[in-house]
Amino acid sequence: MAEEALKRTPLYDEHKEAGARLVPFAGWEMPVQYEGVKAEHEAVRTRAGLFDVSHMGEVVFRGPDAERAVQRLVTRDVSRLETGQVGYAAVCYEDGGTVDDVLVYKNPDDFLVVVNAANRDKDVAHFREHTGDLEVEISDESDDWALLALQGPEAAGILGNLTDADLTGLKYYRYVVGEVDGFYAVISRTGYTGEDGFELYVRPAAAAPLWCRLVEAGAAPAGLGARDTLRLEAGMCLYGNELDEETTPLEAGIGFAVHLDKEEEFVGQGALRRQKGEGPRKKLVGFKVEGRGIARHEHPVAVGGETVGTVTSGTQSPTLGEAIGLALVAPGVEDSFDVVIRDRLVPARAVPLPFYKREKE
């Protein structure tokens, strides 16, 4: 099989120069770390970190039926979104299994749906397959955008010095269109770290100069390694780990993004309604490892030596200094179970999510 060349973001040279370790990720050559995961993680928790997430996909829905199309495809009721608002949602198959988890941006005249890089082609095909009868243009515009995530308690201060946009009036999961350091940008108060912060959608040519300005202003370059430990501490799902085609959004604990009562039927709604009535086949739990060891993706979960689930994500939490994880387990599993780490049963205890919550001012 011919190996397809890895794609590079507009920030490839900046990563190289900063000494990043670049790894293949979802078909892209992406920075997994610069200084080290722990240092980058701490920079985001205590100061500000800067991520290149330009590999994410941007799909725009235009036309008279754009809202109907998005309504039909995602679990959230997007008719409740105001212009300038962002909503987290899942995309499901008819059987309720998850195609992807996405952000929906309600623009004045259209909808932007931001998808995971690994799912981009699959998503666009799914979107088109289920909206053939509607008057909507579904346009994959991922190549027209770079995406920088500036995250951490100092993010607002750093960005405020580079833009006239009103950041103090910009609430969580809202966006404004403006300029950052003279470059056109969609400034979105969103993120995947559990900290305050912004995601900046900019033109590819603006990515490198803006990256350099933000680093000069004090943001620490941070890689996918820290992005993963940060999102896990914040209890956020990662597609391919907590969510996949075998797992429904209800099972993965993102029922808050599923509106079963919305008027326009969405793909998978019937299956999710049934599941809500019958009860899920599995449930997502957060846990701490109480013995020695670190639970990892795909390690079994056991009670009395019998497998009752699977670890979906696990790491040593840099903030807590403890081994934490998420697992999909059978509905009846109580708060105490074992994780199987290299054939060893290691006790673990379920804890409420998230593992880490920032102190709000």
């Binding site: 997994v32 770390q33 080290g36 722990k38 390694g225 430990t229 020695r292 670190i294 840099p318 290299r342």
Partner: protein, 125 residues
């Protein structure tokens, strides 16, 4: 990357210091650099008997797990218990305080010289 000339090496990036019939084992500077911040080391029991090539434990960073393989066969006569509370020693001093275990052994099979290991690193890069 430092590759001390007085040590021997494996293709799986362990190093071995042979003194009499005791072989001290650790992971190379290259190996710890590839892993990143080490946060956990799983050590075998003292007294365990290993055959060359046996997986005897693991070194874990925040983002990755690397299995450890016995470079030579023998009995585990000492493990570096200090790594339980200070696994970062493997990053800071991989050939010194970051040693992992000592084996009683006369086995020398299949080890690489420093020059051979350097060549392996060049080929891999």
């Amino acid at each position: 990357m430092s590759v001390p000339g007085d040590l021997q090496y494996t293709k799986s990036h362990e190093w071995v210091r042979v003194e009499g019939d005791v072989a001290t084992v650790g992971i190379t500077e290259h190996a710890q650099d590839e892993l990143g911040d080490v946060v956990f080391v799983e050590l075998p029991e003292q007294g365990a008997t290993l055959e060359a090539g046996d997986s005897f434990g693991a070194v874990e960073s925040v983002k990755a797990v690397s299995d450890l393989y016995a470079p030579v066969g023998g009995e585990v006569v000492e493990v570096n218990g200090a790594l339980e509370n200070n696994p970062e020693k493997i990053n800071e001093d991989p050939y010194g305080e970051g040693w992992i275990l000592k084996l009683q052994t006369s086995d020398r099979a299949d080890l690489l010289s420093a020059a051979e290991y350097e060549k392996l690193l060049e080929e891999e890069s």
